[in-house]
């Protein structure tokens, strides 16, 4: 290795380390402070403790928020995955012109700033005289999540031979049977993967929730409210837990979507 190459390699390593640090350091700080035995986030750490986690578990407000978030995320996941999967199948079966028109239209909520989506939903609910509640939050989150499901399931559908469905119909399967016996098993990795994406999207969501919720709060909006009193170690603990949960779900989704080119057992 020449001198120039050695310097180049070293420079690249340093640069890479800086980028990684830039991306991950804030997260690391949150995790570290969540174990810090001090009321204020400051270095050096005074000692390790789990009390902030205990405090979270003892807080009725945070536990209620966690329950709300889980409920909303689960409902969003079921609704968005159902609608999105069916929409993707319908799109794949429709003509080229319909698809060209419908695909961008259906992905609009994904492209539009969440702020606009939130305000639009609030307007809509007012027009319909709907009481804001967790139900309206679920509707809002579903609107945001459906385009992602369509995108992921459509990508999988493109790789499916349409003759497989025809073969099933030729052998006597009704449309419903084709869906249950053929399409859903073949789409399973994409459907499960996009379900996890929908869950994570909803669990993290702040802006749309802010506009569409009534008196109940989800975990992110509760944290947001608590920040008015500064960043407490308690918030760091909750954030750490949220991070672990969402990263695990996102990784799960990734694995699902990539798996299953070939089906065995």
């Amino acid at each position: 290795m020449t001198r120039e190459q050695g310097i180049g390699t070293l420079a690249l390593a340093v640069w890479t380390a800086l980028v990684v640090l830039f991306l991950l350091l804030p997260l690391f700080v949150i995790v570290a402070f969540s174990f810090n035995d001090s009321d204020f986030p400051s270095f050096p750490m005074r000692g390790l403790t789990l009390k902030w986690y205990w405090r979270f578990l003892e807080s009725d407000e945070l536990l209620a928020a966690l329950w709300n978030s889980t409920l909303v995320a689960f409902a969003t996941m079921v609704l968005a995955t159902t609608f999105g999967t069916l929409a993707a199948i319908g799109l794949a079966r429709s003509g080229a012109r319909t698809q060209k028109f419908m695909r961008p239209l259906l992905s609009t909520p994904m492209m539009t700033p969440r702020l606009v989506v939130g305000i639009a939903l609030l307007n809509m609910f007012n027009l319909l005289s709907m009481q804001l509640s967790l139900l309206t939050v679920i509707v809002g989150h579903t609107v945001v999540a459906v385009p992602y499901v369509i995108l992921v399931v459509s990508a999988r559908l493109v790789g499916l031979d349409p003759r497989i469905e025809e073969a099933a119909a030729d052998l006597g399967a009704t449309r419903t049977r084709v869906l249950i016996d053929i399409l859903l098993p073949l789409l399973r990795p994409a459907v499960l993967g996009s379900a996890l994406i929908a869950f994570t999207l909803s669990f993290d969501e702040v802006v749309v929730t802010f506009f569409t919720t009534g008196t109940e709060n989800t975990l992110p909006t509760t944290i947001w409210a608590m920040l008015r009193y500064g960043i407490t170690p308690e918030i760091n603990a909750v954030s750490t837990l949220t991070m672990i949960a969402t990263v695990a779900l996102a990784l799960g989704a990734e694995v699902m979507i990539r798996s299953g080119g070939v089906h065995r057992r």
Binding site: A167, L171, A173, D181, I182
Partner: protein
């Protein structure tokens, strides 16, 4: 040829005359494109029928309409006398085999084959027995628990056949089923298909663009062009007695002499061409008709002793291409007439084939076949 034709019809003439599938003035278009243009066709029971034509001629659309995967815009399709246009595939006695096999990738071979039976509410024990028997027929008993992705192309093809045949259809529809296989395997599968068709004694409707496959496998060939039927007949009829130039060129090489019918005689029609007078056979022609006299390369006789017999002409060797078993030789005759012949590379005449040499060719009257001249034939006549 006659011996072969005798072997081909195991069902006897009674069933051969009976039409199982009757297609009556069927039209089908996709947007502005007309895929099937007023086709009427009767296909006999127990036959191996091939729909032959280039891509886009409508053969696959016609097949899919017989199977119920497409609906005609107008016209009727009857199978065993029953109009089936409004029937879904399960209510038709037809089953389809796709070019891509379309096996269910998430099911084992066994489950793939059982699928059609399960849709028919047959008891499990019976399904099991039938699946096992069918897998035995196609020689895949050991692969029952395998997934399609673990099989070779030929094995997947057999699973597709088994999956369709196990439901005991009266008609098996095959859409270029061998197109994805390599040459050796394709030839073996052709033989298997043929024997499968004979032993199952069911009607095969087979779509292909490969004329060798069509001529080699079929009892009847239907040549299609731009959504219409150009000709139907036995492979020998299609090859030796083509109805028009399109069919003649699609199923093999031809040389063409343009001419005018002068007299009709016992042995055939006497025609006048720029290269001289020839006697040719053909369908009903009248004197004065403009015709193409066509001949297949293997029917041309090379280096006939005298230069002046009937139906002969003197021609110069333009090029000779060695093809292994035979040579393809291009001749130029009087008035720039071009004649293509193929001669065995071991034949004594082969020695006389030297570019630039002029020799005598005989075009036997029985092999010189007349087809109607197309209107602007002179414009498109320049050698292929």
């Amino acid at each position: 040829m006659t011996i072969l034709a005798g072997k081909i019809e195991p069902m006897g003439t009674m069933t051969a005359e009976h039409s199982l599938i009757e297609i009556d003035r069927v039209r089908k278009s996709f947007g502005a494109h007309t895929a099937i243009d007023n086709v009427s066709l009767a296909l006999g029971e127990g036959h191996f029928v091939t729909l032959l034509g280039p891509s886009g001629c409508g053969k696959t659309t016609l097949l899919r309409m017989i199977g119920g995967l497409e609906t005609p815009n107008s016209g009727s399709i009857r199978i065993a006398g029953t109009p089936v246009e409004s029937f879904s595939p399960i209510d038709r006695p037809t089953r389809m085999v796709f070019q891509s096999y379309a096996l269910f990738p998430h099911m084992t071979v066994e489950k793939n084959v059982a699928y059609g039976l399960q849709r028919r509410r047959i008891p499990d024990a019976e399904i099991k027995a039938k699946v096992a028997a069918q897998l035995d027929v196609v020689g895949l008993s050991e692969k029952a628990k395998s997934y399609p992705s673990e099989l070779s192309g030929g094995q997947q093809q057999r699973v597709a056949l088994a999956r369709a045949l196990v439901t005991k259809p009266r008609v098996l529809l095959l859409d270029e089923p061998l197109a994805a296989l390599d040459l050796k395997l394709r030839q073996r599968m052709q033989a298997e298909l043929k024997s499968l068709q004979r032993s199952a004694a069911i009607t095969f409707v087979y779509v292909t663009h490969d004329q060798h496959e069509a001529l080699g496998l079929s009892d009847r060939v239907v040549v299609m062009e731009k959504g219409r039927v150009a000709q139907r007949g036995t492979p020998a009829e299609i090859y030796h007695r083509p109805a028009n130039r399109y069919v003649a060129e699609f199923v093999g090489d031809i040389s063409i002499l343009d001419g005018t019918v002068r007299t009709i005689e016992d042995g055939g029609a006497r025609i006048e061409t720029p290269a001289g007078m020839f006697v040719a056979s053909g369908p009903t022609v009248r004197s004065g008709d403009k015709v193409h006299a066509i001949i297949r390369p293997e029917s041309v006789r090379v280096a006939v002793a005298s230069g002046d017999g009937a139906n002969t002409l003197r021609a110069t060797v333009e090029s000779a291409t060695f093809r292994g078993a035979d040579m393809l030789v291009e001749f130029r005759g009087p008035a720039d007439v071009r004649i293509q012949t193929s001669i065995s590379s071991t034949a004594p005449e082969a020695a006389a084939i030297i570019p630039g040499h002029t020799i005598t060719l005989e075009l036997p009257a029985t092999a010189l076949w007349l087809i109607p001249a197309e209107r602007n034939s002179n414009a498109s006549e320049s050698s292929p």
